[in-house]
Amino acid sequence: MNAVLLSGLLGVVMMFASFLFKTKAPVRMLAILGILLLLVVNILESKGVRLFHLNTTGFLSFSSYALFFNSIAIACTLVYFLISSKDMQKAGNHYAEYFALIFFILTGIFLVTSFTNLLMLFLGIEIISIPLYILTGAAKKDLKSNEAALKYLLMGAFSTGIMLLGIAFIYGATGTFEIANMNIAGLAKSNLLTAGMLLLLFSMCFKVSVAPFHFWTPDVYDGAPTVFTSFMATVVKVGIFAGFLHLFYSGFETVAVQWKLWLAILAALTLFVGNITAVFQQSVKRMLAYSSIAQAGFMLFALVALNETGHEGLLLYAIAYSLATIGIFGVIAKMTDYSFDGFNGLATHQPLVALCVTIFMLSLAGIPLSAGFLAKFYMLKAVIQSGDYLWLVIFGVLMAAVSAYYYFRVIQAMYFKQGPNHFSGISSFEKYVLVGICILIVFTGLFPNVIFSWLYF
């Protein structure tokens, strides 16, 4: 509860910050301090210290898993602020407002990770979506950004409608919005419930860009200002994923037979479409958009498995994927050429940056000693433990091998090819942040115990 209220509050504070401060630097400092404060209060709450005593029974319940997930989301946002907050100035004129919107999005994520009521889920998803539409269109003079925002808004509104319809169906079948009171097992044969569940499934799939509901993703990610793509593709995506898992694990687990096969097929399709399309991209930014679709396929494994390992895997995935992607987008935002050729010879011009990008790419490709490997490892382990869908596991690793192809193209371009410098310079602080992310990635890959000991103890 601490974090939900505080982040909403911080959003309002940031809105007024643009009146208070004339220059950009204090705004940035305020945002970073705010996010640090948010992290502290959220960790306090997971240690049992509650700042606000509100009765949220029937609406929200903050399990240790949800709180830990929130901490990850906040920490990733902190990293994101540290690396990208300067580049946000390039996106448009409303600097402070961008931070405000991001804090609102975080509020939505906190609701989505800990709802016990379908209405809260809907609210959370909307609180996440609407600021995202604005951020996508932040570059007002840029046609591509406008197009992306409009597309996103139309498609997003449509999927929200489907979600509402699904919730209404479920309400019709069960007579309640509260997950705990639904007694779904007793209604296993209800067509209304099945239809509602599938509609919810599809609309959630849209939000996390699972194929075949992914068509908006490349355009939106490509069109949006790079700094915001970074946030959208990482924190937002894994946040909604946590809600997705929460919904289907605590809500519809008892009737898993009805939707699990659908989900497995969707996961396979997502892996296939994401990876195969990413292979043919010429722009690194677009490649990352498709790779984020592909990674969503792996995150779906947690839903297919529906066990403890899957939950842990999603946590690791959230850390590994978000950190690496934020890092890469942080670098891309400073590039003048987004194509693979733009990376040619980066190792000669910027050896340290190239090394960091290499580690991010290795992590995304799932090479051992990185967090990305462990995340994939947990996902595979989860599905294997659940016993079914071994074909999905084998298909998944084959697709992971395909993904190595396009991640390594970046490494090849940086190290084995030569080209002019397309990198517009980086401050030494941002370099430290990049190195810090790399250390975090490798550390998580080597000692996941530390992460999980925070979760369990």
């Binding site: 290795l362 090479i367 051992p368 000693l369 490892f377 595979l380 382990k381 294997i384 433990q385 071994l390 596991v393 084998i394 690793v397 084959l398 992971a400 091998a401 190595a404 192809y405 390594f408 090849q412 190290y415 084995f416 000692f447 996941p448 115990n449 999980f452």
Partner: protein
């Protein structure tokens, strides 16, 4: 402790190498590191023979531990790795590299990975080292290789990466079926999987190992990669990395999936002998010495693979000895090829000739290495191949031992044909304009080749210590992969 040091020394010194700026210092430092590793290995073999076990907690939640142990086979391969590295560094001492610190750093990291693979007794750890050995070599080959290096190395990388990922699925599946969910090798041996499970898991593991060795039809990456890689990397790949695959078969495949190994044994042997004959025939038509050696390596590895699936004690002993010998022989072969390339600027067989007149010492060394390559008596390869043939013929699990042996025998004869043909065309006959100005090799090259020849002859003349060293290992592998009691259990 020895086991840990063998990994730590190359790892730490490799990481340190990246930070050194001066070229001379880089070379000296990495050579020093390689020699220290070698001394540690020798100490481990000679003095601290009981000190090859190390165990530390790591990833406790997953029941995976940092568990290292040197059994006979592991110790021998570590010794081979430790011996090869200084020789490789010295024999390519004068080769110029851009960013020399990165090159040597990656080489040492690859050594750490290799040592880890040979010593790891925990499936997850094994997988980690398996990949750790691959990544540096990938970078070395694509940065410092020949013209077509990027595409060729990438193919190599994707092949092996697919293989390892499939193995990862297999590892996870076995893990979830072990008593008490553990990655420990002993737990893997006790997994008690059904025949059906074993059959498909077997292939997941086998493909990973088959790509690495390589076994026909997974070999297509190999000749290109050997040809395009810088010589030092080719030496590491062919002398050491292919042994990862054979070791995988012996340690992780046969005992973990005994029933499937029993059932698929003949299929694999068929693939292996097909590879032997196929590679030998192609080797006969090669004009490029590097490609010839690459194909000859496929043939030799194929024989080892067939011998592994004979599941016979002398075949396994022969395989292990041959792993060591093949490493030495092919290293010697590459050294000769590298010297020729350095002196004459080409490795085209048709462009060379009559080198013997100008470089008698080089020719002498080449002839001995060639003899070892075709397994003449008194050379090391004879011991290994003899034992392997004996084992294949006397195999209790295969009814077709005689046919496999006959086919492999044809491969050996072909091996003699192409090796001697290469020798005749390159070293003997008349000199031409290119080889006329040739000179003989220098003292340090002689010294290095003498080490190789020494290793060839010692194992060839007095193999008993080596046989003793691998005796225990081969017996325990056979004990774990004895199928008869398990088949009985499955029936009831």
């Amino acid at each position: 402790m020895i086991a840990l040091l063998l990994i730590l020394v190359p790892l730490v010194s490799g990481l340190a190498t990246f930070l050194i700026k001066k070229e001379e210092q880089v070379r000296t430092w990495s050579l020093l590191a390689a020699i220290i590793t070698f001394i540690i290995a020798i100490l481990g073999v000679a003095v601290y023979t009981t000190n090859w076990t190390f165990r530390a907690d790591w990833m406790g939640l997953l029941n995976s531990s940092f568990s290292l142990k040197g059994d006979g086979m592991g110790i021998m391969l570590c010794l081979l790795t430790a011996l090869c590295y200084p020789v490789i560094f010295l024999s390519t001492w004068t080769t110029a590299y851009k960013k020399v610190n990165n090159f040597f750093g990656l080489m040492l990291l690859a050594q750490a990975g290799l040592m880890g693979v040979f010593l790891a007794m925990d499936a997850l750890l094994f997988y980690f080292f398996w990949e750790l050995a691959l990544i540096p070599v990938y970078f070395i080959c694509s940065q410092w290789g020949g013209e077509k290096r990027i595409a060729v190395t990438f193919k190599f990388f994707i092949y092996t990466f697919i293989g390892s990922l499939l193995m990862l699925v297999g590892i996870l599946y076995v893990y979830s079926h072990t008593p008490g969910h553990s990655f420990d090798i002993e737990a893997f041996y006790k997994s008690g999987l059904s025949m059906k499970e074993q059959t498909w898991l077997f292939w997941l593991f086998f493909i990973a190992f088959a790509v690495k060795m390589p076994i026909f039809p997974f070999h297509t990456w190999q000749p290109d990669t050997y040809q395009q890689s810088p010589t030092a990397a080719t030496m590491v790949l062919s002398a050491l990395m292919v042994k990862m695959g054979v070791l995988g078969l012996l340690r992780w495949l046969l005992p973990v999936f005994p029933i499937a190994s029993y059932l698929n044994g003949d299929t694999i042997s068929l693939l292996a002998v097909t590879g032997i004959i196929y590679a030998s025939l192609i080797a006969m038509r090669q004009d490029d010495m590097k490609r010839l050696v690459a194909y000859s390596s496929i043939a030799h590895i194929g024989l080892m693979c067939a011998a592994v699936f004979a599941e016979d004690k002398s075949a396994l002993q022969g395989t292990m000895i041959q792993m060591f010998s093949h490493g030495i022989n092919i290293l010697g072969m590459w050294m000769v090829v590298a010297i020729i390339e350095r002196k004459f600027g080409t490795v085209k067989i048709s462009a060379l000739g009559g080198i013997a007149q100008k470089a008698p010492a080089l020719t002498f060394f080449f002839v001995i290495i060639a003899f070892a390559n075709i397994a003449l008596p008194l050379t090391n390869a004879f011991i290994g191949e003899f034992l392997m043939f004996k084992g294949i013929l006397g195999s209790k699990v295969s009814q077709n031992g005689i046919w496999i042996m006959a086919a492999a025998g044809v491969g050996i004869i072909l091996g003699a044909v192409y090796t001697l043909r290469m020798g005749r065309k390159v070293f003997f006959g008349e000199t031409n304009t290119l080889t006329e100005k040739g000179t003989d090799i220098a003292f340090h090259e002689k010294a290095l080749l003498i080490i190789i020849i020494g290793a060839i002859l010692i194992v060839g003349i007095y193999p008993q210590p080596f046989l003793n060293a691998v005796d225990q290992t081969s017996q325990s592998i056979l004990k774990n992969s004895d199928v008869l009691p398990m088949l009985m259990k499955q029936k009831h």
